[in-house]
């Protein structure tokens, strides 16, 4: 962490900044008379005054500086010096939604949970909607977190140096922000299951962990795949949360389809012929579905089991696994997603309970293996040029204890997943993760000095 300072404002029509002598010495600017102060994308030249009376943890800014730079004075700031720049920050944006009318009190309260780790984040955390961005002045009208009162205060602020995308950011907007803050907006890219299959099937270390997949083009595809694999899954290309997943397997000459429809589990068994053809046409449209090799995932208490790993980048911009939860699908359900009625528990408890490991050592090794695959996937996505800070990966383990990558969820993972497993501490950790990464992107992460030196 950089040195923390409280901001005091002095009525002065000139731009100047007063710093305690010891702090100035530490920041290596004790002899400097002039420099520029920056907050978000705004910068202004200022006279530097050194004071022996001022407390170490305080900085005095002239009113002019505060107004020109749009600095809210209630946050605790960290201060960092880069050549002649004195940075106050971190200045972090949270894109909450598209329209201001949707930015309700309730939404702000929910976003407050992202700031639960404020004590280690510091700076200005600004929540905003896209329609309140002022492209002319490079400012946003939004809400800045007041850590003392634990409320959001309305105001006008400069563009922040990093943006956590809780909501969609179009290509045009992405490019607009790129000009001012660089590649520092993260999360919420859309790519579909088929794209992902194509990429990962070319990654030596990942390919062996993904089930064979192809785009559904005609019924022949289904029959051919059923020749090769015991069961197959059909999934809508852009689907989430297990919606629209169909499990298909052959039973003698008949074909069985299992899926959920309007909260109910459907199960139909059909012979080859017109009925079958019609059912397939009803269930899935060519080009909109992928069909995938079925994996015999381990079962527990009659339900299918998978592991949800929440991967997040931390203040060093490196990936870490912040939670692994085991999800057990409802009995006879074709998916193990919680939203379709399953249960969840911390992975370690489960691995032992379900006999996946006979001892602690095996449990540890399995856990590390799961995390290891997640790391490879996350680093591959980095390599492709995406800027993700949080990813939710679904992994499965089959009866041979081989590990499979089932799905990569690139939208915000439902934090409720940790709550269900009664692991509230990791729930808070996941919620506060994005701002730790945002802090690094805004130039205040740990080891940022080393990066600046390069």
């Amino acid at each position: 962490m950089y040195d923390r300072v409280k901001i005091n404002v002095q009525p002065d029509s000139k731009a100047n900044i007063t710093i305690n002598k010891e702090l100035a010495e530490k920041l290596n600017i004790a002899k400097r008379k002039r420099g520029f102060v920056s907050f978000g994308v705004k910068r202004l030249f200022a006279d530097i005054l050194i004071s022996e009376e001022l407390a170490y943890g305080e900085i005095v800014l002239s009113e002019k500086l505060v107004k020109k730079l749009h600095i809210p004075t209630y946050p605790v700031y960290e201060v960092k010096v880069k050549n002649t720049e004195i940075m106050l920050g971190p200045c972090i944006g949270i894109l909450a939604c598209q329209k201001n009318k949707d930015l309700s009190k309730r939404m702000l309260k929910e976003i407050s949970l992202n700031a639960i780790d404020y004590g280690r984040i510091n700076g200005a955390i600004i929540t905003f909607s896209l329609d309140k961005v002022n492209k002319e002045n490079n400012t946003i009208e939004g809400y800045c977190y007041n850590p003392k009162k634990e409320i959001w205060e309305k105001g006008i602020f400069p563009y922040p140096l990093s943006i956590y995308r809780r909501s969609r950011l179009s290509k045009q907007w992405e490019n607009h922000f790129l000009t001012f803050i660089g590649d520092s907006t993260f999360n919420n890219y859309s790519f579909d299951k088929w794209e992902m299959y194509e990429w990962f099937s070319n990654e030596g270390e990942i390919a062996k962990h993904i089930p064979y997949t192809k785009i559904y083009e005609n019924k022949e595809d289904i029959f051919q795949m059923l020749e090769k694999y015991e069961s197959i899954y059909a999934k809508p290309i852009g689907g989430m949360k297990g919606f629209g997943v169909i499990k298909i397997n052959k039973e003698g000459e008949k074909i069985r389809f299992r899926y959920r429809k309007e909260e109910l589990n459907e199960d139909i068994l059909l012979e080859e012929g017109e009925d079958l053809d019609k059912s397939i046409d009803d269930l899935m449209k060519p080009g909109e579905f992928i069909i995938q090799q079925g994996i015999n995932l381990i079962n527990y208490d009659g339900g299918q089991v998978d592991f949800r790993c929440v991967m997040q980048k931390n203040e060093t911009r490196k990936w870490q696994c912040n939670s692994i939860i085991t999800r057990v699908g409802a009995k006879e359900s074709v998916v193990s997603n919680i939203s379709s009625g399953g249960a969840a528990m911390p992975a370690m408890d489960f691995i032992k309970a379900a006999g996946l490991a006979t001892c602690h050592t095996e449990a540890f090794i399995l856990k590390e293996k799961l995390i290891s695959l997640c790391m490879k996937v996350c680093e591959a996505l980095d390599k492709y040029g995406f800027n993700f800070g949080t990813l939710g990966l679904d992994l499965g383990v089959d009866n041979n204890k081989d590990i499979w990558l089932i799905e990569v969820n690139n939208r915000r993972p439902h934090p409720g997943i940790a709550l269900r497993a009664s692991d509230i501490q990791s729930y808070y950790n996941i919620l506060s993760g994005p701002l730790r990464y945002a802090k690094a992107l805004a130039g205040f992460g740990s080891k940022e000095e080393d990066k600046d030196a390069l």
Partner: protein, 443 residues
Amino acid sequence: MLYNITRDKNSKDQLIVPENFMKGTKFFKKSSFNIKAAGKVAKIELIKSQKLENNQILLSGNVLDQLMIPEGIDYQILVEKDCIRIGPVIGLLMTSTKSRMSKGTLAKLMSYTLIYPEVGGLLVAFSTDCIDFENNTVQGYYYDNNFTGRGLPWVSGTFPIPESIFSRTMLSNDIMDKLKEETNNHIFNSHFFNKWEFWNKLSKNKEAVVYLPETKLYSNFKDVEELVEKYGAAYMKPLNGTLSRGLYKVIKLEEGYGIKPKQGEDIITFYSSEDAATYIKEEVVKNYKYIVQQAINPLRVKGRHLDFRVIMQKNETLDWQCTGIIALIGSRGDICSNWGITAYFEDVFYERFNFTQEQIFKLKREIVGACKTICEALESPKENYGDLGLDVVVDEEYNIWILEANKRHYHTVPLWINDVQTFYQTKANPIKYAAAQVGFHVY
């Protein structure tokens, strides 16, 4: 990706790789390289072969001998400019003498190998007396992950001095300096500091000093008097002692001083400072070196002191992380809580202090933040730390105090609360850090 390296008896100066080796990189077409394992270098010709599996590599016998690395284990291979690196070559420097590298010791070291599949390379356990600085080699045991024989998978041999060393033994300054030079400062934990050096180094640091109780090196009773006057009570601690050995508490009484020796013993009352001074000089300090430290009023559980062991380690991110926090609850009336009842951090605050989960999260983040500040303040360009056990106290106003950073802390502390997974994590992190700090992957 890990490659299994096999000795090729028929060739000389060759590295034979699968066809798609380095495909997609600018090195794909290059064929002449230096090859390096730790400090050993050789020259090779890169040959591509259709016959090899993706993770198979053949290396000419003469090169293997030059590099002094064994065949048959899984290595990472990095390509950097005109150099191919085989590794990581990680050292576990665990004892001072070869005689102490017993089967029992090697069996214990197995917990460091659980993470091997994510790291690979040559993991060598060795003792201080088996380092040959003339030939830049060590004699020791390497972990053979494909071992099929009977007994332990540690195989003896002579290897290059590892490029990255995790040291858990005391080293003389001379040997430490040589190893620092040999590993390019990739040996941790490097310098052993005592309690006074700890304070001396950190008290100059503005962010760190707020977490430290004021400390003086004992020279005479004046030092004790001063701190007792200022804080009501002070501790006397031996400079190099661990845990509660040799701990005394000095309290200001209405008339004179009270001195409370360790575990459960009664307070001895001294009506004059001369008597107290004599007792301290003759019964406590004797010929040892002591520090005097401001006493902190820790939180209590049913009258017992509560303190925390925070395991701070670097991992593959090369940054400090908290591996675990264990609450230690001392036996009633003890001046120090070491070896008492142990519990999960979260449980103690939830059950004993009625904290909400949110409050627990925030306190934990604050403690971890304070510990990180201390760990970072200890670092300097010449020292390398990666595995510390911090003694932390939270006082009645919920201020955080860091009493000490232990460099050879007990990795088994998580086992006191039956947290086996955290124990394994504690063993895994130094290996992850050791690999990552010399540029190798961990996954």
